[in-house]
């Protein structure tokens, strides 16, 4: 029986060309042979050596390096290397600045009184931590069974507005999503990456004269 099954399967394979199995660098996402043109070569090298020593040998052994030179002149090659180092330093500095900015940015959860006993909660600054605001708004709306939307505030910055006083709950949700050790509860991974220490809970009372 197996003999009759086999030919059909090989025939199928013959007709549809299988895709090339690609392997990409885990640091810069380039194919490893192009890491040298990225801006994290030393990190890429380290990663490849640790994870896939055989490939490291293929791309960075002395023989490979010599073959790689190809038709380019020695001088141009050294210039290229110099540039790579420079680029790397630049990228590092950039990443560092981004990290610092992230550390400095605040998430503000504000409880706004609308009408004596009715509140809305606005959450500002989540986008600095790479949170998808639309998805997060949907998550909050679903979780609390209320309205939740992304709106532009007076300054033109997007913020999430959730109906009802849910500031403490939202704080807890974010905390839960970023707890160490646990992978975060199901569905909360949207909120990952936020620094809990940077969350501020504030309250805004409605002024009497602006009452409608």
């Amino acid at each position: 029986m197996a003999a009759t099954v086999d030919p059909t399967s090989t025939q199928l394979e013959k007709r549809a060309t299988p895709p090339v199995q690609m392997f990409y660098c885990g640091v810069c996402t380039y194919p490893p042979e192009y890491c040298e043109f990225g801006n994290s070569l030393s990190k890429c090298k380290e990663w490849l050596q640790a994870q896939h020593p055989d490939l490291y040998e293929k791309y960075y052994s002395d023989v490979a390096l010599k073959a790689k030179l190809g038709t380019i002149s020695q001088e141009a090659q050294s210039r290229l290397e110099e540039e790579t180092i420079k680029k790397e330093a630049k990228a590092d500095a950039k990443a560092d600045a981004a990290r610092k900015k992230k550390l400095a940015s605040q998430v503000i959860i504000k409880r706004i009184e609308r009408n004596k006993r009715k509140f809305v909660t606005s959450i500002r600054g989540l986008e600095a931590f790479g949170v998808d605001l639309k998805k997060a708004a949907k998550l909050f709306a679903q979780r609390f069974a209320t309205g939740g939307s992304v709106t532009k505030n007076a300054a033109g910055i997007d913020e999430i507005v959730v109906q009802g006083d849910v500031s403490q709950e939202i704080y807890d949700m974010i905390a839960e999503a970023n707890e160490d050790g646990k992978g975060g509860k199901k569905g909360l991974d949207i909120l990952k990456g936020v620094l809990i220490d940077n969350i501020e809970l504030v309250e805004e009372k409605r002024k009497k004269d602006t009452e409608q």
Partner: protein, 212 residues
């Protein structure tokens, strides 16, 4: 919807490739592409339109029905991701497969090209040109005609306006996708100026867009 100002200007460009090239320059490809602001909307593609795309792909790419079936099974419906400047990305299960600028040719993403390298004709750039390509530059003639580069032989010459894959000297995988601006024979003869306009390459914003 289809009566945008650029539509009126089409009358100036009687030649299809010419128009396409102007558009290319205009939109700057995927060099500064921000998914959050540049994507207008996602819509499933009508099955009749899908049939049209399928037959266009089969005639314009060097691909057989079975392989295309593997990439894009008949039963699966692709999603049309509309972006600014009439740029369309087509995605299957959120993974971009190919794209089209205005009504130019369908071009595969570099990731798809890596899996199926044979779907486009190849040209090779020399080692010195790689870093320029990865910075988004168009490819000049000398980079292709020099010792490290490679152009198809005279009997397989490509006309201007053909979609090509960029290989790189000493590298295994393609590094980008471009559209020829000169015929390959012309490149040899002139050996000056832009030969192939790069459209997408490893490490650009389309490359970074792994999931839509």
């Amino acid at each position: 919807m289809r009566t945008s100002p650029s539509h009126a200007s089409q009358a100036f460009f009687t030649d299809r490739t010419q128009r396409w090239q102007v558009l290319l320059q205009h939109r700057g490809m995927f060099k500064k592409f921000q998914p959050s602001t540049d994507i207008v909307g996602q819509t499933p593609v009508k099955s009749s339109v899908q049939r049209g795309i399928r037959s266009t792909l089969l005639s314009s790419w060097k691909i057989d029905t079975e392989t295309l079936e593997e990439i894009w099974p008949k039963k699966e419906s692709i999603v049309h991701v509309k972006c600014r400047d009439h740029l369309s990305i087509y995605a299957l299960h959120g993974e971009p497969l190919f794209f089209q600028g205005h009504d130019g040719p369908y071009l595969p993403t570099v990731r798809l090209l890596h899996k199926y390298p044979f779907i486009l004709p190849h040209v090779r750039i020399d080692r010195g040109a790689i870093r320029f390509l990865l910075a988004g530059a168009h490819m000049m003639c000398p980079g292709l005609t020099s010792a490290g580069g490679w152009l198809p032989p005279a009997d397989a010459a490509l006309p201007a306006g053909t979609a090509v894959a960029f290989d790189a000297e000493g590298k295994e995988f393609a590094v980008g996708v471009g559209i020829t601006k000169l015929g390959t024979e012309e490149m040899r003869a002139v050996n000056k100026g832009i030969a192939v306009e790069s459209v997408t390459y490893v490490g650009d914003d389309l490359w970074a867009l792994q999931k839509l």
